[in-house]
């Protein structure tokens, strides 16, 4: 059964078509990664899937789908007197979820009581991101949408967040759609990859579809790609595009 069906999707922003004629499905427990160069429409696609911006074509969520969303970056005011305790509490009240039902969330995303009680503007990037993931888990979603969840983190921080997402995915049997710049993450954790450059350039399991030809088509001919076949490690390099 599909949780999500997208058919002939067009998303315009200020009269300019950003996503064009896109079709794909998401099944239960699928791990879909969306890759593509800057400006390819990845974030716009996620926003359309969430119903935050107008589009034409079809986006059909199964009635059983409960969506959790982790945005790319939140420009939190450092002086905001808000903690994740306040934010979790507010979301619980809005969704009418009892506070006891979310007791397991902070430990499962690695948030201690002290972190929960610290104003969000004072948290490190890693804890801030864990908080956002915890926030997304309120309301027991069965699908998570993550927009470059590691964009503001250093490399060890990235690894922790990727492992966390992977663990939560297994633990809660979540379907996950992740926008990522990191092809090694895509290789390790994605069951399928959608290469997006306004239109869909490829879709399928990463080992099959991420060929040099496709990546050049996606990122341009200056892209060079080296697949080191040591275990599952993949490195990507480019002259013009930064993936990290």
């Amino acid at each position: 059964m599909n949780l999500l069906t997208v058919k002939n999707l067009y998303v315009p922003i200020e009269g300019k078509v950003i996503v064009e004629n896109l079709s794909f499905n998401l099944g239960q427990s699928d791990r879909l990664s969306i890759v593509g160069p800057n400006g390819a429409g990845k974030t716009v696609l996620l926003k359309a899937l969430l119903g935050l911006i107008p589009y034409s074509g079809e986006i059909v969520w199964d009635p059983t789908a409960r969506i959790g969303y982790v945005p790319q970056k939140i420009d939190a005011d450092r002086h905001l007197p808000l903690t994740y305790t306040d934010l979790f509490n507010s979301k619980c009240r809005i969704l009418k979820v009892a506070a006891e039902q979310i007791e397991e969330i902070p430990p499962s995303v690695g948030l201690t009581k002290e972190v929960l009680a610290t104003p969000v503007g004072h948290l490190s990037g890693g804890y801030f991101q864990r908080g956002l993931i915890g926030f997304a888990l309120i309301g027991k979603p069965n699908v998570l949408l993550l927009d470059e969840p590691t964009a503001s983190l250093d490399e060890p921080g990235e690894e922790h967040i990727y492992e966390l997402i992977h663990r939560l995915q297994e633990q809660y049997k979540l379907a996950v759609i992740t926008v990522s710049h990191d092809l090694s993450f895509v290789y390790r954790y994605a069951s399928s990859v959608l290469c997006l450059n306004k239109q869909s350039v490829c879709i399928g399991p990463p080992q099959e579809v991420l060929t040099t030809e496709i990546l050049e088509k996606l990122y341009g001919p200056s892209f060079s790609y080296y697949l080191h076949d040591h275990g599952d490690k993949v490195h990507s390099e480019t002259e013009s595009t930064s993936f990290r």
Partner: protein, 265 residues
């Protein structure tokens, strides 16, 4: 003290409490500058009402309502940014308002003054303050999520545009309540300055809301006392005219300056 004077004092203290709550959210929404000058748009309405001899509150309410819709449209991504609107529209409102307001009423329209209230107006005022406090209480969770991230709030199912409009209307209602005492130039400060003090002194949300409201009520109470005992203060050869509005906002500003001395933990 007569009953109408007492009604007036009670209402302005209640308004101050509500202004502290509304101002806390205005500060967190980073609209302190807009908040300070939205009130200017009340002036043309106030002036026209005085010119044509109808209740100034109705005139002020009409232009405030239009101004609120305008700010809201701009926030929703119009062609002008909010700071451009503040720079042009609100100062223009002040200029036009000054032109149309009869000169004998101008000082009071700009800086307010003490006015007694009849029982029906008092009850209407109490109803309005209750509405403001109820709104903040009932919508606090939605307001919190929306100011943290409008996008995340929308993904949680909140209609952020509508929430913004409700909040701005509540903001304008607070301005309208304070207008008669503080005037079009100063009433915005009652919303913003005590909240700035509250934020300086606290680092949790409940403490922030409490501190802002308390500071606001204190500013009004002390301002009232100063005004009633020293309406003309003589210092040597200088006589200060301590009218109510400026007295209240001066007290609020002094409290803010004092709060700067205390470093947050």
């Amino acid at each position: 003290m007569t009953a109408p004077a007492l009604y007036s004092i009670i209402l302005v203290l209640l308004t101050a409490f509500a202004a502290g709550l509304v101002g806390s959210f205005a500060l967190m929404k980073r609209m302190s500058l807009a908040g300070d000058v939205i009130s200017h748009i009340a002036l043309p309405g106030l002036g026209l009402a005085l010119l044509f001899h109808f209740n100034p509150l109705f005139g002020a309410a009409a232009t405030l309502f239009l101004g609120t819709l305008l700010i809201w449209r701009l926030q929703q991504g119009g062609t002008l940014t909010t700071d451009v609107a503040i720079g042009v529209i609100f100062t223009a409102a002040l200029a036009i308002g000054t032109l149309v307001t009869p000169s004998e009423d101008l000082i009071e329209a700009l800086f307010g003054g003490f006015q007694s209230l009849t029982l029906p107006w008092f009850l209407l005022g109490v109803l309005a303050v209750s509405g403001i406090i109820t709104f903040i209480y009932a919508f606090r969770h939605k307001l919190i999520l929306a100011l943290f991230s409008p996008e995340l709030a929308a993904a949680t199912g909140i209609n952020v545009a509508r929430l913004d409009l409700y909040y701005l209307l509540i903001f304008s209602l607070t301005i309208l309540l304070g207008l008669r005492f503080l005037g079009a130039l100063l009433v915005g400060a009652l919303i913003i300055v005590p909240a700035a003090t509250g934020r300086q002194l606290t680092h949790t949300l409940p403490a922030f809301l409490t501190a802002s409201s308390t500071t606001s009520v204190l500013s009004v109470a002390i301002g009232f006392l100063i005004n009633s005992y020293y309406s003309h203060l003589t210092l040597g050869s200088v006589t200060l005219n301590l009218s109510l509005g400026p007295a209240i906002i001066s007290v609020a500003t002094v409290l803010f300056l004092l709060s700067l001395l205390r470093r947050k933990a």
